[in-house]
Amino acid sequence: MTSWLRIKAIFFKELIQLKRDRMTFGMIVMIPLIQLLLFGYAINTNIRHIPAGVVDMSQTGISRLLIQTVQATQVVDVQHYFQNEEQAQAAIARADIRAVLFIPQDISQRLARHPSVGLGTPASTDEETTRPIAQWIVDGSDTIVAGAIKGLKGMPLVELLNKPANRSVPTFEITLLFNPEQRTVVNIVPGLVGIILTMTMIMFTSAAIVRERERGNMEMLITTPVRPIELMLGKIIPYIFIGSIQVSIILGLGYTLFNVPVNGGLWDLAGATFLFITASLTLGLVISTIAKNQLQSMQMTVFILMPSILLSGFMFPYEGMPEAAQYIAEALPATHFMRMIRGIVAREVDLFAMSYDVYWLALFTLAGLVVASLRFMKRLD
């Protein structure tokens, strides 16, 4: 029979130890706080002010107007002018600039024949109308930078011309739901809840059993009538509260600083978070029964943390990953939570609509508790 008295004893012991460990105690608050500020302000996929250069072979009013128009998009920041293409490419290689706008000598003729200008006479040949008016040479190694420059491909030329341009009709009309202003934080803030919980929850419990062993308390503990499952439950319950505090910090600040409201139900949020916290904590416990010392438990935590950051959908869309990577991602609790929390925060989805992830996390927790309890031997050999 499981004894609540014993679970309670372990629970309070953990709380007291945590309270006396100022460093860890501070980390509980500081980790979410600092990380949220860092990521919230730093990560931005709407790229602006890419340092760029210009090679202007025509030196005409038109070419200067084109440069001004490009500057006005704020995507690039023209910092250097070069005589020729070689110089410009060398500057890209040195990483002085990330892209170069190459304006050919005959830009005026090209512009005159450009479809957006549509000068009728004399009739343009097909070859003439398909000629772009200038060229971008880009450092393609960073795909996000390259993508931003690619976005300039269809830049309207209205200001370049004195007369209204022939508007090209887009093939698709696009309606952006949930995040019409395309603010990165809407995705980052809830994602960060998953990453920070993965980090702190696994880290705290992965050291839980090892620490007792390293400090020499284990020999006393296993001589008592405490059962493995009682020990495990007593050790994770305090961190359920701590995890909840961290979630509140992140989402609270996300709302006040970055204006990311929780659109979905608070009970759905609480439910999803509880499931994920317990799953992460039991994963930590399992690590703790495998690791021989705290360094090893730390290494294993990082081993889980890295794929949780990279594969869970936090950084890159799950759908874009190869199938094999998706299988790995599916095995990580963070992936399931990422889906749930983004759904709840941004799209007002309720838990019933995500029952697959709910069951998955619940089963993961149960399996983790069983494995940790079975692995925990009340023996020294």
């Binding site: 014993r6 309670k8 004893a9 020499g216 308390n217 020999e219 006393m220 296993i222 023996r379």
Partner: protein, 308 residues
């Protein structure tokens, strides 16, 4: 039926390269204070851990309170208390918090807890230390706390692994007074030590060396059946004398004690004083005296070592 409550037969434990305990036979009766006397690495801790069910024996059998260990270890948990050699309570908990934790873990009803804890605090002189962190206490205080924690649930058997290693001689006497009190109340105590004076206080003891039991019995029987006589010699150059005596057949050991040389002579020599006086290195003016053997002498004869 005798009231043997700890019984081990042919108990053996090997680690990779070490035979820590070899074919140990033990019978400990209820209410006894049973001692393990042995030098470092003689297998005291290993034997004790096996008798508690924390280590599985390589071979051999253990019965504690009628339960086979380590298979039925959980059945005896509530009836035994264990004080580890290294302090194993929580350094970052206070005395009171540690005792409360133990009380809860052993399922002591909440309404009886504070009474029992106060009782222990006063028995072990820890009242003034209740709110001090265990990690900041002196070695002796910590050992008293460990004993308090090990006895909190009124165990039938108490395992104490070198409980007084950090205690000064005077406090050691008090510590033993408390053990006798527990013993009078019917608690069986298994205690390991490498102090002779402590070993002498045990009802029975086993002398261990390199995992092998060299002798066992009550201190008196051990001393009587030692198989050697003890002669103390008062002479001039004791170091020189020791060097000359040691190679002699029949001389087991010679140790300088202040102005005297304590010589152990095997009891196949009928008259040890006469035997020594025949030797060239003994001068007529030297004083030879046949003295009562001590436990240390037993230790030396049974292990061939001079100190535990």
């Amino acid at each position: 039926m005798s009231n043997v409550i700890i019984k081990a037969s042919k108990l053996t434990r090997h680690f990779e390269h070490v035979k820590a305990v070899q074919a140990l036979d033990l019978e400990i009766e209820q209410g006894q204070i049973y001692g393990f006397l042995g030098p470092n690495g003689s297998g005291k801790t290993t034997a004790m851990r096996m008798l508690i069910g924390l280590l599985s024996p390589t071979s051999g059998e253990i019965q504690v309170l009628g339960h086979a260990l380590p298979q039925q270890a959980e059945a005896v948990r509530l009836q035994i208390g264990y004080m580890t050699q290294k302090f194993s309570l929580y350094d970052d908990l206070t005395v009171l918090e540690n005792l409360k934790f133990i009380a809860n873990i052993y399922g002591l009803p909440v309404k009886h807890q504070s009474k029992r804890i106060n009782e222990l605090l006063s028995i072990y002189g820890l009242e003034k230390k209740q709110s001090q962190l265990a990690g900041s206490m002196s070695g002796g205080q910590r050992q008293r706390l460990s004993l308090a924690a090990a006895t909190l649930h009124h165990p039938k058997i108490l395992f104490l692994d070198e409980p007084t290693s950090a205690v000064d001689p005077e406090n050691r006497r008090d510590f033993w007074e408390q053990l006798f009190d527990l013993s009078d109340q019917g608690t069986t105590i298994l205690v390991s030590t490498h102090y002779m004076d402590e070993a002498e206080r045990c009802h029975k003891l086993a002398i261990l060396e390199t995992g092998i039991k060299r002798a066992d019995g009550s201190p008196q029987t051990l001393m009587q059946n030692m198989g050697a006589n003890v002669i103390e010699i008062e002479a001039q150059d004791l170091r020189g004398l020791k060097q000359s005596l040691l190679p002699l057949d029949g001389v087991i050991s010679a140790a300088q004690l202040g102005t005297r040389l304590r010589v152990l002579i095997s009891d196949h020599i009928q008259n040890p004083v006469a035997f020594l006086q025949q030797q060239n290195c003994i001068h007529p003016q030297d004083v030879l005296e046949n003295v009562r053997p001590s436990l240390e002498d037993v230790f030396v004869t049974s292990t061939g070592r001079s100190t535990p």
